[in-house]
């Protein structure tokens, strides 16, 4: 699953039939992990009506297809949650959290009663 921000939308008339009527959103991930190819953005099918500027959770692979209601969709990324609030513990453990594009999601730091 990937936490990211919706930064745009994409339209296409020539596409695989299963994509008809589906909204395609451009997502900028906050914290990226192991994509098959290095990308700063990805495109995900919108399953729940997310809009530009909103923080979202994107699920990948079979869960993405399932969240769209059928596993015969030739896609591998779907927006499956709109984020209301991000809470990040102050102690991230050893690993420094690096946010792609240097922009962290607005977040409350757990234990300090929010920003």
């Amino acid at each position: 699953m990937i936490l990211g921000r919706v930064v745009g939308e994409v339209w296409a008339t020539q596409k695989h039939a299963a994509l008809d009527g589906r909204k395609l959103l451009i997502i900028q991930p906050y914290l990226w992990y192991a994509p098959s190819h290095e990308v700063a953005h990805l495109v995900a099918v919108d399953a729940i009506g997310a809009g530009v500027g909103e923080d979202v959770v994107v699920c990948m692979g079979e869960p993405a297809r399932r969240s769209l209601g059928s596993s015969s969709m030739p896609v591998e990324a779907a927006v499956c949650a709109i984020v209301d609030r991000v809470e990040l513990s102050r102690d991230h453990g050893k690993r420094e959290l690096t946010f792609v594009g240097g922009r962290a999601p607005a977040h409350d730091t757990a234990g300090e009663g929010g920003s």
């Binding site: 745009g8 020539q14 190819h37 290095e38 591998e76």
Partner: protein, 86 residues
């Protein structure tokens, strides 16, 4: 899925059997990362396309005999990007 622009075509007389007659395109994304994908929608060099990855995607679109996991699933007409980020 990956959003990218078609930068070239790839062909070869000796290839895996499943690739007979297949049209292979090289697509580059905003980061400069490149992928070679199979296209059945008729995309050409310069077109912006959406590439989906995975054996399931391949099976659903071009069939499992194709020895490749990246498939062009849309040719992009328009992109609306939030300026703050463009």
């Amino acid at each position: 899925m990956m959003l990218g622009r078609v930068v070239g075509a790839v062909w070869g007389s000796r290839h895996a059997s499943g690739l007979d007659g297949a049209k292979l395109l090289t697509i580059e994304n905003a980061n400069g990362a490149r992928v070679t994908a199979i296209d059945r929608l008729g995309a050409g060099v310069g077109d912006r396309v959406l590439v989906a990855h995975g054996s399931r995607v391949r099976d659903l679109t071009v069939g499992e005999t194709v020895a490749l996991k990246d498939v062009v699933i849309a040719i992009i007409d328009g992109v609306d990007e939030d300026e703050a980020n463009a």
